[in-house]
């Protein structure tokens, strides 16, 4: 008995470390896919969302997510981790908290990619507080904390919706409200591509994210005690990403004539986001299929947001985490071994999945919208001035350059 808790704790903590490392993966992807003049600002946003996020989640978020439920809507105990003794998550409450805290930071950090290169640093910090104190924990409560969606039978094993879509939907609202980057659309509304300054760096970030994802999905059991299950989850995580890579490679090769590196990298992530909701109930073949099509959905979504909806998302966060996340969550209703429609399980799970996605979308869009509106009032607009945007936020927000060739600086 005792020893199982030790093994479970070791597994959950190690998984949490891997999830934590995803922060640097996100930073690399976002910096690589944007322009050099904003690199430090993006780095700082990633640093601050993970640090502020952890603190806020410690003070408020965890209590709202896992505290005693008020009507299945939100939790109400455990602020500042007080009363930690009262909780029982199998592993020590602090171990469970660490795992949840890095999840919260992940949800928060998704936003930074979509609003990159133009949102004020101060506005971003406030939005991070809102995400980790309220928007994310409430959804978490609904699905994982004993809330109404859990009651309904909605399944989201490791958070395609709870973590990724919540981040992405908030990102969508943020990117919409802050507006497209100067120069992204020309007078006629056509897209001017703004290539990232270091795509290989983005690639390294994707590999690190994938590495972290093994912890993200593997640790979501909060136990190692069923070795067959965790092994299966890891297989799904490996093959889902591989399916996403191959899907995006083939799809872009046909569609644009060449295999597009930046979209293949996004395709891996889309595959991962896609299989995350059903990582415990997909079989290897199912994970390949879901990963493959999650990547295709993501690419179409990138085009739609870029060209039709005209929300400027420099790194594709909305499509990768939102579109592929919703797709993957719904796919659980189709591909879950046992309960999925394609596996002879009927439509009831599928319906629960659709309801869950809609509910989370509505909640996130509305609260994020109100949130950014209030933040805008507090800091006097969420967007930097056009001059600052043109010169780069590194100078404007931090008075420093990311890359320096040093000639001619003087003490002053």
């Amino acid at each position: 008995m005792d020893q199982i808790i030790i093994i479970d704790t070791v597994w959950v903590l190690l998984a949490a470390f891997l999830v934590f490392l995803m922060q640097v993966g996100f930073a690399m992807v976002e910096i690589g896919f944007t322009r050099a003049k904003n690199s430090l600002n993006i780095l700082m946003k990633n640093v601050v969302d993970c640090c502020t996020g952890a603190i806020v989640y410690f003070i408020v978020g965890f209590a709202i997510m896992f505290g005693d439920s008020i009507g299945g809507l939100f939790g109400s105990s455990g602020f500042f981790l007080s009363g930690a003794e009262g909780f029982d998550f199998g592993v020590p409450t602090l171990a469970f908290w660490v795992f949840q805290a890095v999840f919260a930071a992940t949800a928060a950090t998704i936003v930074s990619g979509a609003v990159a290169e133009r949102m004020k640093f101060s506005a971003y910090i406030l939005s991070t507080i809102l995400m980790t104190a309220l928007i994310y924990p409430i959804v978490g409560h609904w699905v994982w904390g004993g809330g109404w969606l859990e009651e309904l039978g909605f399944l989201d094993f490791a958070g395609s919706t709870v973590v990724h879509s919540v981040g992405a939907f908030a990102a969508m609202v943020g990117a919409y409200m802050v507006g497209p980057r100067i120069g992204k659309y020309n007078g006629k509304g056509e897209v001017n591509a703004i290539p990232g300054h270091n795509i290989p760096l983005g690639g390294f970030g994707v590999f690190i994210l994938w590495f972290g994802w093994f912890g993200f999905n593997g640790g979501s059991t909060i136990a190692a005690s069923d070795p067959g299950l965790i092994a299966s989850i890891i297989v799904v995580t490996l093959l889902g990403a591989a399916g996403g890579a191959v899907g995006s490679m083939i799809f872009t090769w046909f569609r644009y004539g060449k295999p597009d590196p930046s979209l293949i990298l996004n395709g891996i992530l889309a595959g991962l986001v896609g299989i995350t909701a059903g990582a415990d109930v997909l079989d290897p073949m199912g994970s390949l299929v879901v990963g493959f099509f999650a990547a295709v959905v993501m690419i179409l979504s990138v085009e739609i947001f870029d060209k039709a909806i005209k929300i400027d998302d420099p790194v594709g966060a909305i499509s990768v985490h939102g579109a592929a996340g919703a797709f993957g969550t719904i796919c659980v209703g189709l591909f879950a071994v046992g309960d999925g429609l394609f596996y002879g399980g009927g439509v009831s799970l599928l319906i629960a999945q659709v309801i869950g996605v809609i509910a989370v979308f509505s909640w996130t869009v509305v609260t994020a919208g109100i949130g950014y509106f209030i933040i805008s009032k507090i800091v006097g607009g969420i967007r930097v001035s056009p001059e600052e945007e043109k010169e780069g936020l590194d100078i404007g927000e931090h008075g420093m350059r990311a890359y320096n060739i040093i000639v001619g600086n003087k003490a002053s």
Binding site: K390, G399, V407, G408, N409, K410, A411, S412
Partner: protein
């Protein structure tokens, strides 16, 4: 033939380029440079130490044009690259003795 060398702000480069393209003066060579002039440099902090970045990033455009296009060109650049703030940059004009198009070997005005 004249060579027009304009050192401008990176931010205004796109505007200048678009304007030149419309006028059919789009043959150019572009270099990332740094420079200082009246613009005294910017005070930044690095790890608690104040310092002045004397050399600010600029874009240098070089265009070789026929004599008759010189004024249009200079005016166009002045109009599109001006923000009115110190640091807008300078244009210098030089005489060109000859030009050769490598692909064809053509020389002189035809080569531009």
């Amino acid at each position: 033939m004249k060579k027009v060398e304009a050192v401008i702000r990176p931010e205004t480069f796109q505007l200048v380029k678009d304007a030149l393209t419309i006028q059919g003066l789009a043959s150019m060579t572009v270099t990332h440079v740094t420079g200082c002039g009246l613009q005294g440099g910017k005070t930044e902090y690095y790890r608690g130490s104040k310092y002045t970045v004397n050399l600010l990033p600029k874009v240098k455009i070089e265009l070789v044009v026929q004599d008759e296009n010189l004024d249009t060109l200079v005016n166009l650049i002045v109009e599109t690259a001006r923000t009115g703030q110190i640091g807008d940059g300078k244009i210098f004009v030089y005489d060109v003795q000859d030009a050769v198009r490598i692909r064809t070997g053509e020389k002189g005005e035809k080569a531009i």
